[in-house]
């Protein structure tokens, strides 16, 4: 459940933050959420990757769909891509990686700041 909430929160932050801050602020947002909400490193990364990736996929896909790929086709050609769908994949991947690694960093930060509680990951290792 916590994992789902985390994905959800990271999705929201990945959606909202870039309206006011640079595009990479989604890494900060995801990191902050993982700093507050406990979870394994693996979980943190995945929550960010899924939350950020899904939102960026949704946004780029909707724009592309409602505009009939009017601009993405032209940008794809400029980048020597055969199909504009690759740009949606790339946006998704960037959104996912940024939020994922941001979240992972936040998770590690949390475990440094709260040494008394051992995270599961650490326990296993």
């Amino acid at each position: 459940m916590k994992f789902i909430i985390k994905i959800f929160l990271m999705g929201i932050s990945s959606y909202l933050l870039p309206f006011y801050f640079p595009w990479w602020s989604i890494a900060m947002g995801a990191g902050l959420i993982s700093l507050v909400i406990r979870g394994s490193n693996f979980n943190s990364f995945n929550a960010g990757f899924i939350g950020g990736g899904l939102v960026w996929f949704y946004l780029s896909f909707t724009i592309d769909n409602t505009t009939n790929s009017i601009l993405s086709e032209k940008i794809a050609l400029l980048m020597n891509l055969t199909d504009s769908i690759w740009l949606i994949y790339a946006s998704t991947l960037i959104g996912g990686l940024m939020a994922g690694f941001g979240s992972l960093t936040g998770g590690f930060m949390r475990s440094i700041l709260t040494p008394e509680k051992m995270s599961r990951n650490e326990y296993i290792s």
């Binding site: 890494a27 960093t105 590690f108």
Partner: protein, 809 residues
């Protein structure tokens, strides 16, 4: 462990951000570009217009309404002129902000800042030509006049209000791809169009090329290959026009006023394919009894288009037409009383003066047997991804020294100062504002007084059925051949002294023939006009075709003038092809050659898009021209080839002198040999073209007219293979990269005028807008749109989108 994990993860995150937020050479930051919030996705538009319907502008005095019609042309309705121009600035920026920024950079020599070192040569030339100084001078002059200052400031504020309303995601796509941000617009930038147009239209000259040629081959051959027209061949001003005034006497031709130089390379010039047509018919020729005016400036076909259309209304003004984005006025257009249009008038507006410095410090130069101080200007050019470049430019009283030891000067031997009329303070802006508001010919002529260039054949018509042609501007009075070659900068007698008075200008008001026209040809019959008129290049074909047609046409309707604008008759072919065909050795033709020949034999000389014959003719004549003047290609100094008209006259009269020899062969070819050789080569190169392209060679396919984006590497923003006929020197002047950049026909009905127009592009400059380039195909097909004005005024059903601008509370 957790520390290592943290640092590793932090490092990866930080590296990803850095990498994806960093430009690589010409690749923009990829994370930013692909971000759905700030990247290119935000430039994808579903609807043609995305402005807010209600906008508050802080400087606005009263409410303004803007109605966009189905072509996205804004119809601006303001209660005072300042609000009007502020809104024009706002909506123009909405459609064309990046293009405006680009033009300002072109004029200021600041392109390298955003595109990198490849533009350095271009920026240096622009600064050496003094485009920035011209713009500053023009700006300072206008800002002294409260009326113009208020318009320029209002327009500037409008542009800035639009820029201020943008977030990163809203920036036009070009800013994102080139990775820079729009900077504040300024009143100086609002004045940039004059320098831009002057550099495009009044910088055509060949003084250096002529000096080189004459030095190497002598005056006699020069005069054969580069003759001056006598003005009898369909000039702009009809030949029966009297000039009954006492001319100002021309300066005495000095004994020696030129210098002998050999310059290896000369600066790039305006494209010779920049030309235009305009014509007007009066009430006697017109079916409805109303004058009709038509204009079409032929320029490089670019995306976004050089023109932006708008309709400006205030209690003081009601004008519609096109202007250069970034400029608060209508350049070509009409109001409810008059209409006007322009074609370039080739006149020698540039002379080069050879300057002698006292020593290598270049602090003093020789003039009138004395040493005078020079002025030194350091121009710093900022270059993307490279160190700044500082260019030292020396100025003398003639003007800036363009050719010197740092720039195209044959090892520092030559210093050439540029005297260009466009360097003098221009008042052309004022002229245009007068045209916009003129109610009749007298008020129009009052505006002409301010017109200081670039020289244009300005056509006029009004609702009373009058038509007129004027060539206003600043023209020095010259002795014959003054400024055809490089002049001696130390000799006061080689300089310009006085200018042709305004009252002595070339003018024609109405004419018994019922029409007036111009197409960049020689302006006047030399024997009639007392002043020396010169340029190195004139049109000889479009003018004759237009006049031939207008003489025979009667009961003219607007549609007839539209067909004339789209006329594909190839005058060159009609004059030279029969001669070329007669010289062919037809007995020895093989099958391919026979087919090629037959097509030409049965051709009626129209460059229609679906025909093959125009392809055959253009191929053959191009190869012939290249082979004929191959001698010029071997010359190591700057030189021009003779123009098409002179060439075809020499061919037809069989007086090619020694040039018919092909240098690559040991034989001495005759003209007939050359014509046959060019024919065979044309057939071979057509076969080659067919095997490479694998499609039929109809003229449109072979020519492949293109509208290309201003940034050449943005290839997917271009339109290729546009199916249109015509070519250079044809009324429908669509060649591969040039053509009619705005076609306008206006019927001057006093009950409300009827206006039609089209241009190869779209009001929106955004490649992500569904209407990007939507007028290109209709333009190519010769279609026109009703412009919503006068009888065709904008009705509620025609309004695509409406916005209200109100003063901020």
């Amino acid at each position: 462990m957790k520390f290592i994990g943290f640092f590793l993860s932090f490092f990866v995150t930080a590296s990803l951000i850095t990498l994806l937020n960093m430009p690589f050479d010409n690749i923009p930051p990829i994370g930013k570009l692909l971000s759905p919030h700030q990247g290119f996705w935000q430039n994808s538009e579903k609807e043609p217009i995305s402005l807010d319907q209600s906008i508050e502008l802080i400087e606005l005095k009263e409410a303004v309404t803007v109605q966009f019609d189905e072509l996205l042309i804004p119809h601006i309705n303001a209660k005072n002129n300042e609000d009007l121009y502020m809104t024009q600035g706002y909506v123009t920026a909405y459609h064309r902000l990046w293009q405006m920024d680009f033009y300002a950079r072109v004029v200021m020599g600041r392109l390298s800042e955003v595109v990198g070192i490849k533009a350095l040569g271009y920026d240096r030339l622009q600064r050496r030509l003094g485009l920035k100084d011209m713009t500053l001078k023009l700006h300072d002059g206008l800002m002294k006049d409260a009326y113009y200052a208020s318009i320029i400031s209002a327009y500037t504020n409008g542009v800035n209000a639009y820029i201020a309303s943008l977030s990163q995601g809203d920036y036009p796509i070009e800013f994102k791809l080139l990775n820079y941000e729009p900077e504040k617009w300024t009143t100086v930038k609002t004045c940039m169009a004059y320098a831009l147009l002057a550099s495009t239209l009044s910088r055509s000259e060949a003084d250096i090329e002529h000096t080189n040629f004459r030095k190497m081959f002598g005056e006699d051959l020069f005069n054969v290959l580069f003759p001056e027209p006598d003005g009898t061949l369909s000039p702009v001003i009809p030949r029966d026009t009297p000039f009954d005034f006492e001319p100002v006497s021309e300066p005495q031709k000095p004994e020696k006023f030129e210098v002998q130089h050999l310059v290896n390379e000369s600066i790039s010039k305006q494209n010779p394919l920049n030309g235009s047509n305009n014509f007007a018919i009066d009430s006697t020729k017109s079916k409805s009894g109303h004058a009709i005016l038509a204009n079409e400036p032929d320029l490089e076909l670019t995306a976004p288009s050089i023109w932006y259309a708008s309709h400006l209304t205030s209690p003081d003004i009601n004008v519609m037409g096109v202007t250069v984005p970034g400029t608060p006025v209508i350049l070509i257009g009409f109001n409810d009383s008059i209409s006007w249009g322009v074609t370039n008038s080739p006149r020698d507006q540039v002379d080069w003066f050879s300057v002698t410095f006292k020593d290598a410090s270049r602090k003093e130069y020789l003039y009138n047997n004395q040493w005078f101080k020079t002025e030194q200007i350091l121009e710093e050019i900022v270059i993307k991804n490279a160190d700044n470049f500082i260019d030292t430019i020396i100025r003398v009283h003639h003007g800036p020294i363009v050719y010197d030891r740092d720039y195209l000067s044959n090892h520092a031997k030559v210093n050439l100062a540029m005297r260009w009329i466009a360097h003098d303070e221009s008042t052309t802006f004022k002229a245009l504002f007068h045209f916009n508001k003129a109610n009749n010919y007298d008020e129009f002529v009052e505006g002409l007084r301010f017109f200081s260039g670039p020289p244009q054949n300005i056509i006029y018509s009004d609702v009373k059925g009058n038509i007129a042609l004027n060539l206003p501007g600043k023209f020095p009075i010259k002795f014959p051949s003054q400024g055809k070659f490089i002049l001696d900068g130390s000799d006061p007698d080689s300089e310009w002294k006085e200018y042709i008075p305004f009252e002595h200008r070339l003018e024609r008001y109405n004419h018994p023939q019922g029409f007036l026209s111009s197409a960049n040809q020689f302006p006047v019959d030399r024997t009639n006009y007392p002043y020396y008129v010169y340029s190195h290049r004139f049109e000889h074909y479009r003018n004759r075709r237009v006049n031939d047609r207008l003489i025979t046409m009667q009961n003219i309707e607007p549609e007839d003038l539209m067909s004339l604008q789209n006329d594909n008759f190839n005058y060159i072919a009609s004059e030279i092809l029969p001669y070329l065909l007669s010289k062919l050795d037809t007995l020895s033709l093989n099958e391919d050659q026979n087919k090629f020949f037959d097509e030409l034999q049965n051709w009626d000389y129209f460059n229609h898009p679906n025909l093959k014959a125009p392809t055959h003719f253009e191929l053959w004549s191009d190869i012939l021209w290249d082979e004929l003047w191959d001698e010029f290609d071997t010359m190591s100094f700057a030189v021009n080839k003779p123009d098409i008209y002179t060439t075809s006259q020499l061919i037809i009269s069989d007086s090619l002198v020694r040039f018919s020899d092909r240098l690559s062969t040991p034989e001495k070819e005759t003209a007939t040999d050359l014509i046959n050789y060019a024919f065979n080569t044309a057939v071979d190169s057509l076969n080659q073209w067919l095997s490479i392209n694998g499609k039929n060679h109809s003229w449109n396919e072979f020519k492949g007219t293109e509208v290309n984006h201003l940034i050449s590497s943005f290839t997917s923003f271009n339109s290729k293979n546009i199916s249109i006929g015509g070519n250079h020197n044809i009324v429908n002047a669509a060649s591969k990269h040039h053509g009619p950049s705005w076609r306008m026909v206006v019927e001057m009905d006093p009950q409300g005028i009827n206006a039609y127009g089209v241009y190869p592009g779209s009001q929106t400059g955004n490649p992500g807008n569904p209407m990007y380039g939507h007028m290109i195909t209709p333009w190519a097909e010769g279609k026109y749109y009703n412009l919503k004005f006068g009888q065709n005024k904008l009705l509620a059903a025609d309004i695509l989108y409406e916005i209200q601008l109100t003063p901020e509370k």
